[in-house]
């Protein structure tokens, strides 16, 4: 069949049966829209959650000192394990799979004074590697704590975004002073307003951070409250964990098999579970949407059966003038595919428009629903998946009616009124 000839007939059918054709296409548009929006919301949710997860850090694990539960080298159970300020360097040196290791101090309820504002805040002492490990990315115009700050124990302070808002409002805090325990600290930068899902000591946006060496000098802490370790490769996190037990076990004389001697929160493990869960959610949403689209496909098949019936005489005429079964088959297959294509294309356009419009609504970083659902995203993968589903549905909804058409007896169809 020549495509043009066929297209003309298709368009003629559309004109003749506007409502019927319209409803069929509408079902497809709706089906496509449903599956696309469900997947787009899923994708947007995944990306937002991923961003929030990165608010804590990428590929990191948090290590705390624990209590021994196994006697080791003649030492009793129940010993407290404290991590000393050079342990991070020790781990970095002995375990090459570690990218960064950094110890951290915490103090809650520390008074911060700026002018007439007095706030009781959480203050941490951190190394520069936290910029990368814990995504302490400074806002434009400021910087994070650097090695020179540590070396010289500078009295500099890096503020979380919310804390900066409380102390300075919309003013630029860089270069201004904040009093901590009566000691003036210069603000060198403040963090970006970030989403943070996982946390072990409160959200970063509420913290004031100072160089880890300065912290030790002021507060006199002997031990790290915790360490943060970043691995190069997520596949090595189990091995690195094991090595941390071995290295610190050798130093503090506890068995490397003593799980309670250290507390380790492996966010890499969590991330893997998180990814698996999100994939599960995406598959679920895809199935729900696919079902909707499938129903639309059943509608197309139905209509195609009716069309085949209506065109019985046309089929007979074509067969009498020499059409082979495959000619007839192709015609109806093409028609079903075209219906699906029309509906699918319209559905995709509408979905893309909906995503664009939703994207225009600003999302504030509070933990409201818009944060998670306000950013539907149609990725290439989603596009390919939906297009494939549409194609499969088009083929199947056309196949059976087209086979019926091709199997028509030419004698009977010529007599059909």
């Amino acid at each position: 069949m020549r495509i043009w000839h066929f297209l003309k007939y298709y368009l003629h059918d559309l004109r003749k049966q506007k409502k019927r054709a319209g409803l069929t296409v509408l079902a497809l548009v709706w089906g496509t829209f449903s599956i696309l929006m469900l997947l787009a919301f899923g994708e947007g949710l995944t990306r937002q959650l991923d961003k929030a997860r990165l608010g804590l850090g990428d590929n990191i694990m948090i290590v705390w000192g624990g209590q021994t539960s196994i006697t080791h080298q003649g030492l009793p159970r129940g010993r407290k394990i404290w991590m000393r300020p050079d342990d991070d360097k020790l781990l970095e040196r002995l375990i090459p799979e570690i990218k960064h290791a950094g110890g951290e101090y915490h103090r809650w309820g520390v008074d911060l004074i700026r002018g007439k504002t007095v706030l009781s805040q959480h203050v941490t002492g951190i190394p520069p590697s936290f910029e990368e490990m814990r995504t302490h990315y400074p806002s434009a115009g400021g910087r994070m704590i650097n090695q020179a700050d540590l070396d010289m124990r500078r009295r500099v302070m890096y503020l979380g975004y919310e804390l900066k808002q409380k102390l300075f409002g919309d003013e630029d805090p860089v270069g201004r002073l904040v009093e901590l325990r009566g000691i003036p600290f210069t603000v060198i930068g403040y963090g970006q307003d970030k989403m943070q899902m996982g946390m072990y000591s409160g959200p970063d946006v509420d913290k004031a951070s100072i160089p880890v060496t300065t912290f030790k000098a002021i507060f006199g802490d002997q031990y790290f409250d915790n360490m943060v370790i970043q691995v190069y490769n997520t596949d090595q996190s189990e091995y690195v964990k094991r090595r941390v037990y071995e290295v610190l076990g050798a130093k503090y004389k506890f068995s490397p098999d003593d799980e309670d001697a250290l507390g380790i929160w492996d966010t890499v493990e969590g991330m893997k579970q998180f990814n698996a869960m999100m994939l599960g959610i995406q598959i679920f949403l895809g199935i729900v949407g696919g079902m909707t689209l499938l129903i639309a496909g059943v509608g197309v098949a139905n209509i195609m059966y009716v069309v085949v019936k209506e065109r019985t005489r046309e089929i007979g005429i074509k067969m009498a003038t020499g059409a082979k079964r495959r000619h007839i088959m192709n015609q109806f297959m093409l028609e079903a595919l075209l219906v699906c294509f029309t509906g699918g294309a319209a559905g995709i356009l509408i979905s893309a428009l909906a995503c664009y419009l939703l994207g225009l609504i600003p999302v504030n970083s509070g933990n409201d629903a818009m944060n998670w659902l306000g950013r539907p995203t149609i990725s290439t993968t989603i596009g390919v998946i939906v297009a494939s589903i549409l194609a499969v549905i088009g083929i199947f909804s056309g196949l059976f009616p087209a086979r019926k058409a091709a199997g028509t007896n030419p004698v009977e169809s010529l007599r059909y009124e």
């Binding site: 020549r2 067969m319 009498a320 003038t321 020499g322 082979k324 030419p410 004698v411």
Partner: protein, 233 residues
């Protein structure tokens, strides 16, 4: 090819049984029929006599239940449906009582139909279709839709369509049945003209005027042939 010599249709002991499950209908009961190239023949008989069944088998639209049918020297009983479609396409031209045109296609597109299935390229196809429509006197109606034409004109379009691939046989089933006397006469004259140019034409009809003008008349009754008239075979 028209204008040749020899046998175009050779049927021996053709039976057609319609089996509807419970009832078996013997539509054709042992037809023997030979038709030479270049013949102009009429097949007449009362309704229910098996005329249409015979025509369907003659035109390779249907296959016989039993018997041997040679068309243009080729055994066609029991052929694969694709080959039958090719024979219909290239060697048979049908003209129906109710025209069987695609109603929302133009006269040109209707005539092009057999050429499309033969795979003739667009330009050649168009030229051929216009030429045929001019031949049947519809040169002015090329781009009219089929439904916009009168009965006589529609039948001319269907004759033009039947001639598209220059078939060896033109089969007409009651071609004047739905036409007024004048248009009917004109159609018969067109057939005569085609016959004189060498086409083999078989007309199945009730119309008493047609057998008077054909060289051979074949009677069919209760699925069997009886012949009179001036046909020699």
């Amino acid at each position: 090819m028209p204008n040749g010599n020899g046998t175009i249709i050779n049927m021996q002991g053709i039976h057609k049984v319609y089996d509807t499950g419970k009832v078996k209908v013997d539509a054709l009961k042992g037809i023997d029929l030979k038709i030479q190239r270049g013949t102009f023949a009429a097949i007449i008989g009362p309704s229910g006599s098996g005329k249409s069944t015979l025509m369907n088998i003659l035109g390779c639209l249907d296959v016989p239940t039993d018997g041997v049918y040679e068309f243009n020297g080729e055994r066609v009983d029991g052929l694969h449906h694709n080959r039958l479609a090719e024979i219909r396409n290239e060697q048979v031209g049908f003209v129906f009582q109710n025209f069987n045109l695609l109603p929302y296609a133009t006269a040109l597109e209707n005539v092009e139909l057999p050429l499309i299935f033969k795979g003739v390229p667009t330009k050649k196809r168009r030229e051929r279709a216009v030429e045929l429509l001019e031949k049947v006197g519809l040169g002015e109606r090329v781009s009219h839709l089929a439904i916009e034409l009168s009965g006589g004109e529609m039948q001319r379009v269907s004759i033009a369509r039947a001639l598209a691939n220059n078939p060896s046989l033109i089969l007409a089933d009651e071609p004047t049945g739905n036409l007024d006397t004048k248009s009917g006469r004109a159609i018969i004259e067109l057939f005569e003209e085609l016959w004189q140019k060498g086409h083999t034409i078989l007309i199945i009809t009730h119309d008493p005027n047609i057998p008077q003008r054909t060289e051979r008349v074949i009677h069919i009754k209760d699925g069997q042939l009886t012949e009179n008239g001036n046909g020699a075979h």
